[in-house]
Symmetry: C2
Subunit: 598 residues, 2 copies
C-alpha cells in the first residue's frame, strides 16, 4: 500500500514505507482533530500535535478543560471534515509574517515556538479554518482518511513543552491506523489490556498496594502478592544454584566513594538518593554491581576460580519523576534478579550461551513462548566514544551473535544502541495480548573491571583482567510480577497461584469434612482456603471465580459419604468427583511441570 502525500514546498509524492506512511497518516489525523476542536471550541489555543508510537495527540490551552463527552463530539466533527474532503495546503512564509499571523490569531504558544525554532522562512499547513506551523509532510486531503480508521481516546493534563513549571494544557489522545480492521484490533487490545490492568487486579486480588502516606513508586506486597513473589524467587534461586551461581547479600547503602569509583556518582547522580552519616555522604544503592565487585575482590582469584557467578535479589532505589510512575511496572524501588559473571576471555562464549539458555528456560516456565531479541552494538561512526578495546568489542559481539545463531534465535541488530561500556542482548517478551515487555538483558561491561582494578592470576602466573557480564532474567521482580498479572489477567497457573484451591462445604453439616480436606491440602504443601461462610454454593463458586482460584473443591453429602471431593476447574468447569489423594496427585503434577493451564 502506498500513500499519496504533499510536502511543505507544495510538491506531491508517494510514501511506500509502511512505518513512515502510518506516521504521516497519524500526523494528518492529529491536524484533523485540531481542526475539529478548533471549530467546536474556537477559544482554544494550539500547542503541538505529533504522531506517537500508538497514535497521536494534540495539546490545547483551554482554561475550562474538556470533559469525556467532548471526545465524542470531536470525533463526530472529524468525520464531517473527512466527508468535506478538505485539502492540506502548505505554504512557505517568512518568520516575520508567521509571527504576525499567529499573533493576530492569538496563538501565543505557536509564536513562542516559531521565535525559538524556526529559521528565516518556515512552512505552515492550512486545513479548513486551521493554520498550523508544521514542517509536514501531510496527506493531500482529508478524503484520504477512512472515517472508520481513527478514534479519539482520552484526555490528560500535560505541561507546555513537558515542563511542569509551565502552564498546564489539555492533551487529547487519539489513534489512527491505515485500515479500519487494524484500528479495531488495536481497540480490542486496549479493551483487553484494561481488564488486565495489574493495578486494578492487584487491588481486587489483594496482591499489593501503594501507600499515599509512604510515597509514590514504593510497592507494599500483601500476603498473596508475597506468596507469588516468593514462589518466583525460590524457583529462580534453585535454578541459578543448579547452574553454578552463588548467592551473595549486599547492603542497601554504601559510602559515595564506591559510586565515585564505579562512575555512577558522575554519570548517574540525578537518579541516586543520597544522605549523610556523620560527616560523610552515603548512597542508597541504585545498582548491585559495586557490592558484587567488593566480594569478588575480597580474595585473590586464580583462573581456576573462574568463572565466578554471583546472584542476588537486590533491591535498588532510583529516582523517577512521580508523573511517570505506573503501578509495579515503573517504580522508585525494585528488586533486580541481578547477576554478575566474572570470567576469562576463553569462557565468554559458554557463559553467554548458558545465559541465553537460562533466559529461554525461565521464559518458557513462566508461560511465555514468543519474544523479540535485540542485539545492541556500537555506532561504527563513533567508535572513540566507547569504553573497551577493539578486540573486547569484537570478542563480545562474536559471543553474543554466535549464541543467538546457534540457538536459531532471530534478532534485530540495533546499530549504535549499545551502552558506552559494552554491547548487549535485550529480550522482550510478547504477552498474551501481543504486547512486548523488556525483561531480560545480558550486557558486557568493559569499564568496571578497569575502574575497580579487578584481576585474576592466569595459568601463566601473571595478573589478568577478567571479563565482566551483567545479566538479569526478569529484570525487576516488581515489574515482572506486574507483567505476569497482566499476561495471565490475574489467573495464575496453579504453580504460581497464591491460593491454589478453595474448599466449599455445601451446608453446615459438611464443614467438619471440609476442614479435614483443607488440613490434608495444607499438610501436602498446597495453598488452600476454606469458604465456610453462610452463603449459597453458587455464590461461593462465583467468588472463587472472581478471585481466580484455579480449583474449587465442593463437598456435600455425597462427597462426605464417598470420602471424595467434587472438583471444579476455574477454566473448564466440573471435572467430577475424585478422591482427595487422586486430586493431590493430579495438581502435584501440574505444579511440578509448571503447567500454564491445568
Amino acid at each position: 500500500m502506498s500513500l499519496k502525500i504533499k510536502y511543505a514546498d507544495g510538491t506531491s509524492g508517494e510514501m511506500a514505507d509502511a512505518n513512515s506512511a502510518l506516521e504521516i497518516y497519524r500526523h494528518s489525523t492529529s491536524h484533523l482533530m485540531a481542526a475539529a476542536v478548533h471549530s467546536l471550541f474556537p477559544e482554544v489555543h494550539l500547542g503541538i500535535g505529533p504522531a506517537i508510537s500508538d497514535g497521536f495527540y494534540y495539546d490545547f490551552e483551554r482554561p475550562d478543560g474538556f470533559v469525556e463527552e467532548d471526545l465524542k463530539k470531536i470525533e463526530a466533527r472529524m468525520k464531517e471534515l473527512v466527508a468535506q474532503n478538505l485539502s492540506f495546503e502548505p505554504s512557505i512564509i517568512s518568520k516575520e509574517e508567521a509571527i504576525e499571523f499567529f499573533n493576530k490569531q492569538g496563538e501565543h504558544l505557536k509564536v513562542e515556538l516559531i521565535r525559538e525554532k524556526a529559521g528565516e522562512r518556515l512552512s505552515c499547513y492550512r486545513l479548513g479554518q486551521l493554520v498550523d506551523f508544521c514542517t509536514g509532510p501531510h496527506l493531500c486531503s482529508t478524503g484520504q482518511i477512512d472515517p472508520d480508521s481513527f478514534h479519539v481516546l482520552s484526555i490528560a493534563g500535560s505541561y507546555w513543552r513537558g515542563d511542569e513549571h509551565n502552564q498546564q494544557l489539555q492533551r487529547i489522545y487519539g489513534t489512527a491506523f491505515l485500515t479500519p480492521a487494524e484500528l479495531q484490533d488495536y481497540l480490542n487490545q486496549l479493551e483487553e489490556a484494561k481488564k488486565r490492568d495489574h493495578r486494578k487486579l492487584g487491588r481486587e486480588l489483594d496482591l499489593f498496594s501503594i501507600s499515599e502516606e509512604a510515597g509514590p513508586g514504593l510497592i507494599f506486597w500483601h500476603p498473596k502478592g508475597t506468596r507469588v513473589r516468593l514462589i518466583v524467587e525460590d524457583f529462580l534461586r534453585k535454578e541459578l544454584i543448579h547452574r553454578g551461581y552463588e548467592f551473595v547479600t549486599t547492603p542497601h547503602v554504601a559510602r559515595d566513594v564506591l559510586w565515585k569509583t564505579s562512575g555512577h556518582y558522575e554519570y548517574y547522580r540525578q537518579n541516586m538518593y543520597m544522605f549523610r552519616i556523620d560527616d560523610e555522604e552515603f548512597v542508597i544503592k541504585p545498582m548491585n554491581c559495586p557490592g558484587h565487585i567488593h566480594i569478588y575482590k575480597s580474595q585473590m582469584k586464580s583462573y581456576r576460580d573462574l568463572p565466578v557467578r554471583f546472584a542476588e535479589f537486590g533491591t535498588v532505589y532510583r529516582y523517577e519523576k512521580s508523573g511517570v510512575l505506573h503501578g509495579t511496572l515503573r517504580v522508585r524501588g525494585f528488586t533486580q534478579d541481578d547477576g554478575h559473571i566474572f570470567c576469562t576471555p576463553e569462557q565468554v562464549y559458554d557463559e553467554i550461551s548458558n545465559s541465553m539458555d537460562l533466559v529461554l528456560f525461565i521464559m518458557k516456565n513462566f508461560g511465555f513462548d514468543q519474544f523479540k531479541v535485540e542485539l545492541s552494538v556500537r555506532d561504527e561512526a563513533k567508535k572513540g566514544e566507547y569504553a573497551g578495546t577493539e578486540e573486547d568489542w569484537q570478542m563480545a559481539e562474536e559471543a553474543l551473535t554466535q549464541s543467538l545463531r546457534s540457538r536459531g534465535i532471530n534478532w534485530t541488530r540495533m546499530e549504535g544502541e549499545a551502552v558506552f561500556y559494552g554491547p548487549k542482548i535485550d529480550v522482550k517478551l510478547i504477552d498474551a495480548i501481543g504486547r512486548p515487555w523488556q525483561l531480560s538483558t545480558i550486557q558486557f561491561d568493559f569499564t568496571l573491571p578497569k575502574r575497580f582494578n579487578l584481576s585474576y592470576i592466569g595459568s601463566d602466573g601473571r595478573e589478568h583482567q577478567p571479563v565482566m557480564v551483567h545479566r538479569a532474567l526478569l529484570g525487576s521482580i516488581e515489574r515482572f510480577l506486574g507483567v505476569l498479572i497482566e499476561h495471565y489477567a490475574g489467573a495464575f497457573p496453579i504453580w504460581l497461584a497464591p491460593v491454589q484451591a478453595v474448599v466449599i462445604p455445601i451446608a453446615e453439616r459438611h464443614q467438619e469434612y471440609a476442614r479435614k480436606v483443607l488440613s490434608r491440602l495444607t499438610e501436602a504443601g498446597f495453598r488452600a482456603e476454606i469458604d465456610d461462610r453462610n452463603e449459597k454454593m453458587g455464590y461461593k463458586i462465583r467468588a472463587a471465580q472472581t478471585n481466580k482460584i484455579p480449583y474449587m473443591l465442593v463437598v456435600g453429602d455425597k462427597e462426605l459419604q464417598s470420602g471424595e471431593v467434587a472438583v471444579r476447574n476455574r477454566f473448564s468447569g466440573d471435572e467430577g468427583a475424585l478422591t482427595l489423594e487422586s486430586f493431590l496427585e493430579k495438581i502435584e503434577g501440574f505444579v511440578n511441570n509448571r503447567s500454564v493451564r491445568p
Copy 2:
C-alpha cells in the same frame, strides 16, 4: 565471703553482698593500677577509673601512649604494691583545698571534675604516692588483693568524658575477681572467645566482610555466608508459614509522614537516616511496623480475620556511632526476622503462648538449650508515664506470666524495665562458653494501634481496636549468624554448614570417580566440593578440618573398586567405608533432624 572495707569518712565495715563486694574489689584494683602506672610513668595525668561489668579500667593522659609491653610492667608493679600492703587512706577536705592540691599536682582533669561535680566538701583516697578524688568505699589495704586475682588486659583509645570532641586519652583495661580461680575461668573464657571471634572466623571461612570503602557497620555476605543465611531464613520461613504467619514485603524507604504518625520521628530521629525526594523528606526504615500496619489497614478487617500474623525478613538501617560497631553483632544495617500479631483481647493468651513455643522450638533447633528469660514490667511508681490503660497492662502481664508459668520456664521480673508502650519478654541464649546473647523478644504495643487508628469489626458489629504484638525470634539475622559462628566456633551442624562434604581423591587416577561422587552429592541436594589439587591427602584433610567441613570423603583405589567412599568425620575421625547411598541416607537424617553433631 565478706569483705572488709573503708568508707570515705574513715569508718570501716563489712560488705557481704557478693556483687557489691566484687565491684569494690575491682574499683580498688583500678586505683592500684593507677598507682602502679603513676609510679612507672610519673608524667601521666589521671582521668577516671571505675569498675565495669567484667573488670575495670583507668583513663590516662599520656601523649606518647602505651605499648603492649607496658601492660606487663604495670601488672608486675601492681603485685609489688600489693606486697607492700599499702593502705587506702580516705580524707574529707574542702573543694578549695582539693582544687589547690590537684592543681599543684598538675592533675587538670581532676580539677575540672571537682569544679563541676563536687559539693563544698569532698572525699579523696590516698594510695601510696597517689591521691585520687573518689567517693569510695575501698578496701582497707592492698594486702586484701590476691596478687593472682587480677590481670591487666589491654589498651584502647578513649575520649575525656566519652566526648569525641575532647582530648584523646589512653584507657587501660584490667579485670579482677574475688578468687584466682574465678579469674582463671574468666581468662580461659576470654581465650576461648578469641578463638571463636566471628570476625576472625568470618574472614577465615570466607563468610562475610565489611568494606572500608562502603562504610562501617554494613555487612557483605559472601557466597558461603549467604548459604548459611538462606538456610536459616528458609527454615524460619517454612516454620512461620506452618504456624499461620503470612509473609509480606515492604519497601526500605518511606515518607517522613509515616514516621511522624508512628512517633519515631519525634522519639527516635537521631537514629534515623533521612534524605529528600523532590521536596519531601524520606526515611530509610529503622523498623518494619508502619509497613505492616499499612497492609493491615489496606482492607477492613472483621473479628473473623483475626489473628492476623505478618512476617518479614525486613532489612532496617539505624544510626550507631562507629566506635560501638562490632562485626555482625552491632551494625548499622540488619535484617529483623520481624513479626506483628494483630488480635482480639480474647486471642492474646494463645498468641503469646504460641510465640513462646516458637521461640523454644527455634532455639532448640539451632542447638541452644540454655537461656535466661526476663519479664519487663512497669515501674509501679510511675504508672502515669506509660501508654495503655490499667486493663491493657494487666491483661498483657497476665498473658506473658501465664505463658511462662505453664511452660515451667523460670524468669526474672524486671521492675520498671518495660518500654513505655507495653510490657515484654526478652530471651537471652546462653552459648557454648556460657555467654548470654539477647535474641528473642515478645513485646506488647499499646501506642501504634491508637496512633494509626487500627480497628476491626467485632462480632457485635462495632469497631474495636486490636491488640498489637511485635515479636522477633532471632532478633537480627546478621547478629544471630555472628552468635551462631561464635557458638559453634565456625563448625556448623551439618544442616547449616555452607559446605557439608568435601570429596578428596588420593591420586589423579581417582579424580574421575571423585567427580562422579561429587555429582551425586550435588544432585541429591547436598552442598559439596572437590579438592582435586595436586597435594598430599594429609594436607587436604587438614585443609578441610581448618575449613570446618563436617565430612571428608576420601576416594582411592579401594573405594574406586568397591564403589564406596571412606568417610571421615571432622569431629570423630574415620567412620570407615560406606556406599555413597548409605552415606547420603545417613547425612540426610542428620540434616532432617537438624542434629547438632553427627
